[in-house]
C-alpha cells in the first residue's frame, strides 16, 4: 500500500511540474526559460510537500510512513524532472543536431544552403543570449564575462557532464 502512495505522489508531483512548466513556458520569452524551469522545480517541491501534509491528515497509512513516502517520492519526482529537462527540454530547445534535421526537413538540402541560414555565428549568438538571460554571463565593454557564483541550469549540466567525462576517461 505504501508503495502505491510513493509511486502515486511521485507521478502526481511530476504532473504538477509539467503543467506548471507548460504554463510558464507558454508565457515566458524563449531566452528566459531556463530560469523559469528552475523556479518550477522549487514550486513543485512546495506543492508536493503541502499535498503530503494533507494526505497524512486524511490517511493513517500515509501518516505512519510519512518520512519514507516524503523522501522517496521527492527523490523520484526530482529524477523525473531531471529526465524531462535533460532528455526533452534541452535537446529540443538547444540541440544543434535537431535544428539541422529541421533545416534539412524544411528543404535546405545542401550544406551550403544550411550554413547560409544556420551557421557558427548564429549558434554562438543564440547561446550567448540564453546564457545572458540565465545570468551566467554578462556583456561588459563589448566582452562577455562570467558572473554567476551560484549554479544555474547550464552550470549544473556542465558539472554533471564533467563528472561523466572524467569517470569514462573521455
Amino acid at each position: 500500500m505504501i508503495d502505491y502512495w510513493i509511486i502515486g505522489i511521485s507521478f502526481y508531483g511530476f504532473l504538477v511540474f509539467l503543467i506548471l512548466v507548460s504554463l510558464a513556458l507558454r508565457m515566458t520569452p524563449q531566452s528566459q526559460r531556463s530560469g523559469w524551469i528552475v523556479r518550477m522545480v522549487f514550486t513543485t517541491f512546495f506543492i508536493q510537500c503541502i499535498a503530503l501534509w494533507v494526505f497524512s491528515t486524511v490517511s493513517s497509512t500515509v501518516a505512519q510512513s510519512i518520512v519514507v513516502i516524503i523522501v522517496l517520492s521527492l527523490i523520484f519526482t526530482k529524477f523525473l524532472m531531471v529526465l524531462f529537462i535533460v532528455c526533452v527540454y534541452s535537446p529540443i530547445e538547444a540541440s544543434v543536431t535537431l535544428r539541422l534535421l529541421r533545416e534539412i526537413g524544411n528543404g535546405q538540402s545542401t550544406l551550403e544552403r544550411i550554413k547560409k541560414r544556420y551557421n557558427r555565428e548564429a549558434i554562438v549568438r543564440m547561446r550567448l543570449v540564453r546564457l545572458a538571460a540565465s545570468g551566467d554571463v554578462e556583456m561588459r565593454g563589448g566582452q562577455m564575462v562570467s558572473i554567476k557564483p551560484v549554479p544555474s541550469l547550464f552550470r549544473i549540466r556542465e558539472m554533471l557532464l564533467g563528472v561523466l567525462f572524467w569517470v569514462f576517461g573521455e
Binding site: L72, V86, C87, P91, R130, V137, V167
Partner: protein, 161 residues
C-alpha cells in the same frame, strides 16, 4: 527498505561494470555503445528479484534502478560517445577563465565540426539520407521532426538550436 537498498547497490554495480566495459572496449577497439546493455541485463535481473524476492516496495525498487539508468544511458550515448562537442559547454569554460568577445568565441568553433560532423551523425542514425551533395530527411527523420513540431507548438518555442 531492503529492496530500495538492494536496487541502489545493484545500480551502482551496473554503473561500475558499465564504466569498466566502456574503458575495456575502448582499449580493445570494440564498439563502446554496446556496454549499455549491462543496464538491460540488470533490469531483467531486478524484475526477477522483485517478482520472487518479496520486497516491501517492489515498484519503488524498480524506479530506484530505472530512473538513474535512463539518465546515464542518455548522457552516455548523446554526449560521452558523441564526436561533436557541446557549444554551450565550450563557451562557459572559455568565458569563466577571462572576458571574451563574441568574435573570439566564434573562432573557437569550426563550421566543419559544428555542422558537417552533426549532419554525418544524422546520416549514421538513419534520420537523413545523402545522394551526392543533397540531403533528404528519411521517414524515421520525419517522425522526429513531427514530434519536435508538436513540442514546439505546445510550448510556444519560436527558435530551435
Amino acid at each position: 527498505m531492503l529492496g530500495i537498498y538492494f536496487s541502489l547497490l545493484f545500480f551502482s554495480l551496473c554503473f561500475v561494470t558499465h564504466v569498466f566495459l566502456h574503458r575495456m572496449s575502448r582499449f580493445l577497439g570494440m564498439i563502446q555503445s554496446r556496454s549499455i546493455f549491462v543496464y538491460v541485463i540488470g533490469f531483467i535481473f531486478l524484475v526477477l528479484a522483485v517478482t520472487f524476492g518479496r520486497f516491501q516496495f517492489p515498484f519503488s525498487s524498480l524506479l530506484v534502478f530505472t530512473l538513474p539508468a535512463i539518465l546515464i544511458v542518455y548522457l552516455y550515448l548523446f554526449t560521452v560517445l558523441s564526436p561533436a562537442y557541446i557549444p554551450t559547454r565550450m563557451i562557459l569554460s572559455h568565458v569563466s577563465v577571462g572576458a571574451k568577445s563574441q568574435k573570439q568565441l566564434e573562432s573557437l568553433f569550426s563550421e566543419k565540426e559544428l555542422i558537417d560532423t552533426r549532419v554525418l551523425d544524422l546520416c549514421r542514425a538513419g534520420l537523413v539520407s545523402q545522394e551526392k551533395k543533397q540531403y533528404r530527411v528519411t521517414k524515421k527523420g520525419q517522425t522526429v521532426i513531427q514530434s519536435m513540431e508538436w513540442y514546439r507548438r505546445f510550448f510556444n518555442v519560436k527558435e530551435i538550436g
